[in-house]
């Protein structure tokens, strides 16, 4: 008697494991067809090069893609609706998502031959895309006045120039902002930090905060490229010089040592909390979650932070000489080079930056408005206290700003993630600052090669 023991047990098992596969394949097939079809049409569209000489009133469906939260989505949708109201032939296919995963998606869309006509991008990726000829050079539109930058600070639109081409137009301006928990400080009778404090003074202040409040005084920013960048510029160095690194392993060691000292003095949280801050989005920064008294962010993120805490927040420049900071394009609007609606896309960018109604609607969500005249209008009329605060700080800093650095080069996203890895290696005590610095510089060199 042998009911063919294992084989019969196995048959249903085998089947149970196998049936879902074809269906999944089928789904994948449908997905691929969906991806492939626009690819073919996209290719056809590139071929016929219908760059807008056609009927200006012909219906146009413009695809647009950005990252951000619900609030940004609402504002942007309203502003685009306004455009449609003025140009009834233009409608939008809007896609938006959180920042995490945004660039993976954008790269995949581009690879699939189905990139959006118009997309939001930041300086971490602008050069990656521009160097690969994915973005449309906006220079000719700027020259012809179709893209009006006459009211922009010159350094701001220039921060969108990569290899002599205007690869993206600043959708707003921001700068590094050190955000601190005002409520916590007042409650404990502690002084607020001020712009211009030296790094040493900042760390000493943070140590005092930790001692008195039991909340670590400052997030350790050694993994944060923007803090490292400001510090480098104060040392007369830079993140990049041409196609090379603008710093040496010694600089990185000094930077890591500075923060090792701060950790030893308990001015910062423990390594795992620092890591939590490094790997969370803006809504979960430590100053908001109550795990440190300060966080290193961009000044225009104030309203986002404010929404996630009941405490009062203050914002100042990063420590050291504030002239190391610059008017940074918080993000850009770029047009896909192969877009058949590129003229319309450029006109939409122009509208979002220079139309008073649209700019007032958008407020400071993407940073201070790039158009200086309209920036004044917005700051005069805003009622949101968090927005007011970030406008005030940036207005004050504008007087102190130094010249813009060059836009980060191709390979920058890897440099950013390598800095996090190296800094955390030092924070967890798995490497000395000098070892971590040497690894980092080595990794950077191959990343930008």
């Amino acid at each position: 008697m042998h009911p063919a023991t294992p084989p019969t047990t196995d048959a249903p098992v085998g089947r149970a494991h196998r049936t879902p596969l074809p269906r999944r394949r089928l789904l994948r097939g449908l997905l691929a067809a969906a991806v492939a079809a626009p690819l073919m049409f996209g290719a056809a569209a590139c071929g016929d090069d219908g760059s807008g000489a056609a009927d200006p009133n012909a219906p146009v469906k413009l695809s647009i893609f950005w990252w951000g939260g619900d609030a940004r989505a609402k504002l942007t949708e309203d502003a685009l609706a306004l455009y449609t109201k003025k140009h009834p032939n233009v409608t939008f296919e809007k896609t938006w998502q959180a920042n995490q995963g945004y660039f993976d998606k954008l790269a995949t869309l581009t690879a699939g031959g189905n990139p959006p006509d118009l997309f939001q991008i930041d300086d971490n990726y602008l050069a990656e895309y521009a160097a690969r000829n994915t973005t449309l050079d906006l220079t000719s539109y700027q020259k012809s006045g179709k893209l009006d930058t006459s009211k922009f600070p010159e350094s701001l639109w220039q921060y969108g120039v990569v290899d002599g081409k205007l690869a993206g137009l600043a959708a707003g301006e921001n700068t590094q902002g050190l955000v601190y928990n005002k409520t916590l400080l007042t409650k404990n009778n502690l002084p607020e930090p001020t712009t211009g404090m030296s790094w040493e003074a900042h760390i000493a202040w943070a140590e005092q905060v930790t001692a008195k409040t039991k909340v670590p005084g400052t997030q350790d920013p050694s993994a944060d490229y923007k803090a490292f960048w400001v510090w480098l510029r104060q040392q007369g160095k830079d993140l990049y010089k041409g196609k090379e690194l603008g710093f040496t392993a010694e600089d990185v060691t000094a930077w890591f040592d500075l923060w090792k000292g701060a950790r030893d003095r308990k001015a910062t949280p423990s390594a795992d909390i620092i890591h939590e801050g490094n790997s969370s989005d803006v809504t979960k920064q430590l100053v908001v979650t109550g795990k440190s008294a300060t966080s290193w962010v961009w000044a225009n993120q104030m309203p986002d932070l404010k929404k996630n805490t009941k405490d009062e927040l203050g914002v100042i420049a990063y420590p050291g000489d504030p002239s190391a900071q610059w008017a940074r394009a918080s993000m850009y609007w770029s047009v896909f080079k192969g877009s058949k609606n590129r003229d319309v896309a450029v006109d939409v960018i122009n509208f979002l930056n220079n139309d008073q109604e649209a700019v007032t609607l958008l407020g400071t969500d993407r940073g201070l408005p790039s158009n200086l005249d309209l920036r004044r209008v917005v700051s005069d009329n805003t009622t949101d206290p968090a927005m007011k605060q970030s406008i005030a700080v940036e207005a004050e800093l504008t007087q102190k700003f130094g010249p813009s650095p060059q836009v980060p080069i191709k390979g920058h996203s890897k440099v950013k993630s390598e800095l996090i890895k190296a800094a955390e290696n030092a924070q967890y005590g798995r490497a000395t600052p000098a070892e971590a610095a040497a690894q980092f510089v080595e990794a950077c060199k191959s990343a930008i090669a």
Binding site: H2, P6, D10, G14, T110, S417
Partner: protein, 327 residues
């Protein structure tokens, strides 16, 4: 897998079709039936060719090029073996990812199978309510590679997560498990082991098929519980163990979702959860180095094929397919 390819007339493999048509005779009918077979297969075949085979071949080609996914295929630069050379000689983080993946698979897979077999043995009895327990133990694996589950896991094993609160009840100070480079991978292993439901169900089905007279005969011969398990259960179950081992090893190597979610897509803290597939994903989609990522994928495919082949070749020493005739 050997089992599923064993000739089984009820499943209508190619052998049975031939036997069937030979009885009918004329080749024309055979031809048209074959055609019908292919027509029925066609949705799957089209899927296989279009979605699997063509992209696979393309990726093989891309693995020999310098290709970032932003530019068209046609502009990919042929670089010969450079990607493979870089992988084997100049990329420490690649080897780090290999180490992480091997550690994960070597620990998580055996423990998962042991847990699955242990619980299957416990549930292979006629208790009241045993069905409920079977369901409960199977539940976690239904949640499979789900993102939601990984998020729950991260929150449970945080510094101020539920697990540490539990430890706190016993006066133990926990660690920030998921944010500690010494423990993050272990946390992922526990998650993988916890989802032992699928192999457990397969083991249960296997246990049900072990003829009771073998146990009776063994106990007549004086074999105790352990001897029965060792000499009856394990050999009779060995094909099922083999099947589970192969499947779970492949699954273990391909672990991605939990590591991705836990580390926010970075493989951190300090690369402690940088699984092979995650490293590949980062290389291709974040660093935009798709040519190199394709090369990684092909080496991975070969590695898994080799490991599976090793399993199959050692299988004949311990997998017991006999159904009694040669005993």
């Amino acid at each position: 897998m050997a089992l599923t390819t064993a000739p089984d007339p009820t499943r209508g493999g190619p052998g049975s079709v031939r036997a069937h048509t030979r009885r009918r005779g004329p080749g024309r009918i055979r031809h048209s039936e074959g055609l019908a077979g292919y027509v029925f297969l066609s949705p799957w075949l089209i899927g296989l060719m279009g979605i699997t085979a063509v992209p696979m071949l393309l990726s093989l080609y891309l693995s020999f090029t310098d290709y970032d996914i932003l530019t068209p295929f046609s502009e990919a630069q042929w670089v010969g073996w450079a990607n493979y050379e870089r992988m084997f000689t100049a990329d420490p983080s690649y080897w780090h990812a290999v180490r992480v993946t091997l550690t994960f698979a070597l620990i998580a897979v055996p423990l998962k199978l042991a847990a699955a077999l242990g619980v299957a043995l416990l549930l292979n009895r006629a208790w009241r309510g045993v069905g409920l327990f079977r369901g409960l133990f199977y539940l976690p694996s239904l949640l499979g590679g789900s993102v939601a589950l990984a998020i729950v896991w991260v929150n449970m094993f945080n510094r101020d997560g539920a697990f540490n609160s539990l430890l706190g009840l016993f006066g133990i100070t926990g660690k920030p498990w998921v944010n500690d480079p010494d423990w993050a991978l272990e946390t992922l292993m526990v998650l993988a082991i916890w989802q032992f439901g699928a192999p457990m169900v397969i083991f249960l089905a296997g246990l049900k098929q072990v003829p009771t007279e073998l146990y009776e005969a063994a106990s007549v011969d004086g074999a105790g519980r352990w001897r029965q398990f060792r000499n009856v259960t394990l050999p009779m179950l060995s094909p099922v163990i083999f099947f589970n081992l192969v499947l779970e090893t492949i699954n273990g190597f391909q672990g991605f979702t939990a590591a991705f979610v836990l580390s926010n897509g970075t493989g951190g803290p300090v690369d402690s959860t940088l699984m092979y597939t995650l490293n590949l994903y980062i290389t291709g989609f974040t660093d935009l180095d798709m040519g190199y990522a394709s090369a990684m994928a092909w080496v991975f495919l070969l590695a898994i094929a080799v490991i599976t082949a090793i399993f199959f070749s050692t299988g004949r020493f311990w997998v017991h397919y006999s159904d009694g005739e040669d005993r």
